[in-house]
C-alpha cells in the first residue's frame, strides 16, 4: 500500500537538497571559468574573438535550458562517452551559466570608467597588466551582487536536471510523490526547501547591493 508522507520523507528530501546544492556549486564553478573566458573574449581588442563570444551568448540565451541539457546528455553519449546523469546535467548547466556570467562580467568590466584605462596606459601598463591590476579588481566589486543574484537562477534551474534522470531535490520529490500518492504536500515541501535556499541567496544579493551603493555614495 501507499506510504504516508512523513518526517522520514522530509529527511530524504533534505538529503536530496544537498545534491541540488552540489550540482549548483559545480555549475557555478564551471560557469565561472567559462564565464570569465567569455567576458574576456567579449571585451577583447580583436573583433573576431568578440564575435565568437557574442554568438555563444546569443545561442545559449536563445535556447531553452531544458533543450541544452538534452543536447549535453545525448551529445556526450553520441561522442561515445557513457556519462552518468550528474555529468550531463553539470555540463549543460555549465554551458548555460558561462553565457550568463559572461554577460554579467562583461558589464562589470565595462562599468569601470575610461579614465582607469587611460590612467593605466599613462603608467605604462599593457592590456593584460591593466586588466589584472586596475580593471578587474574594481570590476569584481561591481559584479558581486548580480553574480549572487544569478546563483539563485542556477539553483532553481538545476531542477531541470531531474528530467535527465539526476536525483536532486525535484526528482526526489517525484519519487516521494509516487510512493505516498500525496503530490500536493510533497511538492509544496519541495517548493518550501527551494524557497529557503533561494530567498537566502536573494537576500544576500540585495545586502551586497545595498552595501555597494552605500560605499559608492560616500
Amino acid at each position: 500500500m501507499f506510504q504516508t508522507f512523513s518526517v522520514a520523507h522530509v529527511g530524504y528530501l533534505l538529503q536530496a537538497a544537498l545534491w541540488t546544492l552540489a550540482l549548483s556549486g559545480i555549475a557555478l564553478v564551471g560557469g565561472s571559468i567559462g564565464g570569465a573566458l567569455i567576458a574576456l573574449l567579449r571585451v577583447s581588442l580583436y573583433a573576431p574573438l568578440r564575435w565568437i563570444a557574442q554568438v555563444y551568448i546569443y545561442v545559449v540565451q536563445g535556447t531553452p535550458l531544458l533543450v541544452l541539457l538534452f543536447i549535453a546528455y545525448f551529445g556526450t553519449k553520441y561522442l561515445g562517452i557513457d556519462t552518468p546523469p550528474i555529468v550531463a546535467a553539470a555540463a549543460g548547466l555549465t554551458l548555460y551559466a558561462s553565457a550568463f556570467l559572461g554577460e554579467i562580467w562583461r558589464g562589470s568590466v565595462q562599468s569601470v570608467g575610461r579614465g582607469q584605462w587611460e590612467g593605466s596606459e599613462a603608467l605604462g601598463l599593457n592590456w593584460p597588466q591593466s586588466m589584472r591590476y586596475v580593471i578587474i579588481p574594481q570590476a569584481i566589486r561591481v559584479s558581486i551582487p548580480p553574480t549572487v543574484g544569478f546563483s539563485v537562477q542556477v539553483v532553481k534551474n538545476s531542477a531541470l536536471a531531474s528530467i535527465v534522470g539526476f536525483i536532486e531535490l525535484t526528482r526526489a520529490g517525484q519519487i516521494v510523490a509516487g510512493a505516498t500518492f500525496q503530490p500536493l504536500q510533497v511538492y509544496l515541501t519541495v517548493a518550501a526547501i527551494y524557497f529557503v535556499i533561494c530567498s537566502a541567496l536573494s537576500y544576500a544579493s540585495r545586502a551586497f547591493d545595498r552595501r555597494m551603493s552605500a560605499t559608492a555614495a560616500s
Binding site: G62, P64, F70, S162, F181, L184, Y194
Partner: protein, 223 residues
C-alpha cells in the same frame, strides 16, 4: 562515434510545425495573461494598502524563489489531489501565467516609479487634461522605460514554455522528445529543435523591435 543523420528528423518536419505553433500559442496566451496579472500585481504593490501590497510582494517572492518545474508539478499533480481537475494544457497556461506575472509585476512597478512627480506638475501647469497627461506623461514614457526589460521577459516566457513538455503538452520540446523516440536519433532531434527555438527568439526580438519603433517613434525623430 557515428555520423549525424537528420533524415528521420526532417521527415517529420510537419510535427515540428504544429509544435512550433503550440509553443507560440502557449507563449502568446501566457504573455497576455501574465501582463494582466503583472499590471494588477504592480497596482496592488503600489496601492498604499498594506495588505494588498504584502500579498503582491509575497506572490512575487514565492514565484521568483522556486523552480518553474516545481510550480508546474504543484498545479498539475497537486491540484487534482485536492479535487480540482485540470487538463495538461490548462495547467501549462495557469503555471506559465503566474510565473510570467511575478516577473512582469516587478518590471511594471519599476516603470511606474520612473515617472517623476515634477513631470505631472509640469503637465498640469501646461494645462494638459488628466487624460492627455496620463497618455503622454505617464503611460508612454513608463512603457518606453520598461519596454526592453518587458520584451526580454516575453522571450524568456517562450523559452520557459519548453518546461511544460514534462506534463505532455505537445509543444516543441515535447515533440522533439516524441521524435527521438521514433527515430532513435536523439541528438539530431534536439539540435533541430534548438535551431527552431533560436529562430523563434530572433523572430520575437524582431517583432518587438518593430513595435518599439512604432510606439516610441518620437525617439527616432531626426535620426
Amino acid at each position: 562515434m557515428s555520423y549525424l543523420d537528420f533524415s528521420g528528423t526532417f521527415l517529420r518536419a510537419n510535427l515540428f510545425v504544429d509544435a512550433a505553433i503550440m509553443t507560440i500559442v502557449l507563449s502568446a496566451i501566457a504573455t497576455v495573461l501574465g501582463m494582466i496579472v503583472g499590471i494588477v500585481g504592480a497596482a496592488m504593490r503600489l496601492s498604499g494598502n498594506r495588505v494588498l501590497s504584502a500579498i503582491s510582494a509575497f506572490y512575487v517572492e514565492l514565484i521568483r524563489n522556486t523552480p518553474f518545474l516545481v510550480q508546474i508539478y504543484i498545479v498539475y499533480f497537486g491540484l487534482p489531489a485536492v479535487g480540482v481537475r485540470i487538463t495538461a494544457f490548462n495547467a501549462a497556461i495557469l503555471s506559465l501565467t503566474f510565473y510570467a506575472g511575478a516577473y512582469i509585476t516587478e518590471i511594471v512597478r519599476a516603470g511606474v516609479l520612473t515617472v517623476d512627480k515634477g513631470q505631472l506638475e509640469a503637465a498640469r501647469t501646461l494645462g494638459m487634461s488628466p487624460g492627455l497627461t496620463f497618455r503622454h506623461v505617464v503611460l508612454v514614457p513608463a512603457l518606453s522605460a520598461i519596454f526592453p526589460a518587458l520584451t526580454s521577459q516575453f522571450v524568456l516566457i517562450m523559452l520557459a514554455s519548453s518546461v511544460v513538455s514534462v506534463i505532455s503538452v505537445p509543444e516543441l520540446t515535447g515533440v522533439a522528445n516524441d521524435i527521438q523516440g521514433m527515430t532513435f536519433r536523439s541528438l539530431e532531434a534536439f539540435l533541430v529543435v534548438a535551431a527552431i527555438y533560436l529562430a523563434l527568439t530572433a523572430a520575437f526580438k524582431g517583432v518587438y523591435a518593430a513595435i518599439d519603433r512604432f510606439i516610441f517613434s518620437y525617439r527616432y525623430v531626426g535620426r
